[in-house]
């Protein structure tokens, strides 16, 4: 049982979780572009090549379907591949293997595919339309994939460890904006966080803000700056979704704002809003609101990007409106 903790960044927590699982279980391998001697575009696998060797830290050619497809085959044969998309956006090039092969194999044939796809996602740094996306909703329409999106360093390690140990394909969305900006105490040694359990990031009675990833930090700041009695729920896991935690909070506060950086239509916010209206309609004192990026590609120029990504003032304004309802 882990007891000691250390303060590490979100990125270091991902590295630590991955490194520890590779030490614990030799069937865990990494595959991705530039992850070997170079250590990865964001240095998540820095030092892995030296410690685990070329067999277990595979530099892949620029071929995302090959990364995902080869991982499927290796997973079926008992390896636990952790694929790195250099940017989450590039999963589009490996999408076929993910949604048609990996996601459906167990349903169709009873063949488990224990693999993880790490997806550095999110914007806010002028990455432009192809290095800033939050593609989680794509995966939620592909039954058979689990989808998690940690907001804290603790969860970054704990959810990654659970993802590696899960017998299913797991999409692990790691927000690039949190990599070095978020730090926290993380248990050293064996530490896992179960899927399907949301976290109450801040307790409150008047309004529930439901988010995940970067939006959790935005919501916490908004709540603090507003000084209001706002509850913040960090979903952590998008599939499976912690329906009970969502409904319990709604029944307590009767007002809901769903916030995420991904675009709006048919996103997680839409799913949560539908769920609340179906299952907790009589508990609501106000319409469920969404605060998301509008349905546009993420633009490059800073004023354009800031105009579409949810900002602190936007979430504060949305909270004020709901509190006043």
């Amino acid at each position: 049982m882990a007891t000691a903790t250390a303060e590490v960044t979100y990125l270091e927590a991902i590295s630590d979780g991955l490194r520890e699982e590779m030490r614990r279980d030799e069937s865990v391998i990494c595959i991705g572009q530039d992850i070997g001697a170079f250590g990865g575009a964001f240095k998540v696998t820095d030092g892995f090549f030296e410690e685990f060797g070329a067999d277990r830290v595979l530099d892949a050619p620029l071929a995302e379907n090959a990364i995902i497809g080869a991982a499927v085959g290796a997973a079926v044969e008992g390896m636990k591949p952790v694929c790195e998309m250099q940017f989450a956006d590039f999963i589009a090039c490996g999408f076929d293997q993910l949604v048609n092969v990996a996601a459906k194999l167990h349903y169709r044939q009873g063949v488990a595919v224990p693999m993880v796809v790490r997806l550095p996602s999110g914007g806010g740094f002028s990455g432009g339309p192809f290095h800033s996306q939050n593609p989680e909703a794509w995966f939620l329409q592909a039954p058979g994939l689990k989808v998690v999106a940690p907001a804290t360093a603790d969860d970054a390690k704990g959810l990654l460890v659970s993802a590696i140990r899960d017998p299913n394909p797991v999409c692990f969305l790691e927000h690039k904006g949190l990599y070095r900006n978020v730090k926290g105490e993380v248990p050293e040694g064996d530490h896992s966080v179960p899927f399907g359990e949301a976290r109450v990031a801040r307790e409150g009675e008047e309004l529930t803000v439901i988010g995940y990833g970067s939006a959790v930090h935005l919501a916490l700041r908004a709540a603090d700056e507003l000084g209001e009695d706002i509850e913040v729920i960090d979903l952590r896991s998008l599939c499976p979704l912690d329906v009970d935690a969502i409904l319990a909070s709604v029944r307590k506060t009767s007002k809901v704002l769903v916030a995420h950086e991904a675009t709006q239509s048919c996103g997680v916010g839409a799913e949560v809003a539908a769920l609340v209206s179906e299952r907790a309609f009589e508990d609501l004192d106000a319409p469920v609101r969404r605060l998301t990026t509008p349905d546009v590609p993420i633009p490059f120029s800073p004023p354009l990007e800031q105009a579409v990504l949810p900002q602190l003032d936007d979430i504060k304004e949305a909270c004020r409106e709901l509190l006043a309802w």
Binding site: P61, A63, V72, E77, H106, Q109, A112
Partner: protein, 370 residues
């Protein structure tokens, strides 16, 4: 090069040299092996013919896809594998399933969407692989399974296991980028995978000359491993090329691409009238039918009597008919199953396949060691 007339590639002899096939002596096949090869090809055809009858009787939802004329390829190639080798099998390759141990009743039940089918109704027609027999079933996107087989081979290589992954695709698939990704990845890492390319002259209705500018077998060299073209209607030629390729893979020499020249003698599916096939092409390929040809060779050159050959045919016909009756008795799946099984609770290893080649049964210690 217009090859829709079915001519075997001129370069085949030169390419065959790269695998040392010309130096090879008679394929290491016993009399029983040859009877098995013949029996399995006949079983594939009889099962598919029975399936088409069920389709015409309205007992098969959707369409029907068979591999008539291509029996030598899946039977001859799968026959070389050991129990612990693994396969991703395509929709024209029922013979490979039969080699590995799938029985006709389960194949026919799968076509009819019955609970007794290999996928228990979760997927249809040839979209199956029996996990207990070391197979991962295909998806409709082609050639996706080339990458999955490559990944299985990657696991074998990482663990230093002398095992082989074998997979199939049509010449149509070679136009898709994933084919390149698989060839390139397997070539880079020298993975123990055997790629069996079935050039059956058409991708649905599209002939070779509209599929590629260069024969795909020639591209193997560009990926750094040998490609060989063989007569896909000669079961022993397919066997021998596959045997050498599997041995290369097992001993660390990496992947091989085997192009099997053949002809799809039925439509893409039962709904396809094949009006696009040039006049005379069927007739030419009918003369090269892999089953009739092998039957003649068994009698004329390999010491079988005509009665023996006929005996195998009638024995198989009875066996398949019993299988069809069993499949018809299999119930439809419980609708409650439709929402079950999306996620796995645990990973379990694939089972091992049947390995009927005498080489494996005569050397049980080798099978165990593998």
């Amino acid at each position: 090069m217009n090859r829709t007339d079915g001519a075997v590639a001129n370069g085949s002899a030169r390419e065959a040299d790269t695998l040392g096939l010309r130096e090879a002596e008679e394929p290491p096949l016993t009399r029983d092996d040859r009877a098995s090869l013949f029996r399995l090809m006949v079983m594939m055809r009889a099962s598919e013919e029975r399936g088409i009858t069920l389709y015409r009787q309205g007992k098969v939802p959707g369409s029907f896809y068979d591999g008539r004329g291509q029996e030598a390829i899946s039977v001859g190639s799968a026959f070389v594998l050991g129990p612990r080798d693994r396969m991703c099998i395509l929709h024209r390759d029922l013979g490979a399933h039969l080699v590995r141990g799938v029985t006709p009743d389960r194949y026919l039940a799968n076509y009819m969407g019955r609970a007794g089918g290999v996928t228990a109704g979760k997927d249809g027609n040839m979209h199956f692989g029996d996990r207990e027999l070391g197979c991962v079933g295909m998806v409709s996107m082609l050639p996706d399974m080339a990458l999955v087989a490559t990944g299985m081979a990657m696991a074998f290589k990482i663990r230093r296991e002398p095992r082989v992954a074998m997979t199939y695709f049509g010449e149509g698939s070679t136009a898709n980028g994933q084919w390149h990704e698989a060839m390139n990845f397997a070539g880079i890492h020298g993975l123990p995978v055997v790629f069996v390319l079935e050039n059956n002259q058409f991708a649905y209705s599209t002939p070779n000359e509209l599929e590629f500018a260069v024969d795909p077998v020639e591209r193997a060299a560009g990926y750094g491993f040998p490609g060989v073209s063989v007569d896909g209607n000669d079961v022993e030629a397919v066997f021998e090329a596959s045997r050498v390729a599997a041995e290369r893979a097992r001993t660390g020499d990496g992947p091989t691409l085997i192009e099997c020249e053949t002809m799809r003698m039925h439509g893409h599916g039962a709904h396809d009238d094949m009006s696009y096939v040039p006049e005379g092409m069927f007739e030419r390929w009918t003369e090269r039918d892999p089953i009739d040809r092998y039957a003649r060779r068994l009698v004329d050159e390999l010491g079988f009597s005509a009665d023996e050959v006929e005996g195998i045919r009638s024995e198989v016909a009875e066996y398949v008919e019993r299988g069809a009756l069993e499949a018809l008795e299999s119930p439809m799946p419980d609708p409650g199953e439709a929402t079950r099984g999306v996620f796995a609770d645990e990973w379990r290893p694939l089972g091992d396949g049947r390995a009927p080649w005498s080489h494996w049964s005569e050397l049980p210690e080798r099978a165990e060691a593998a």
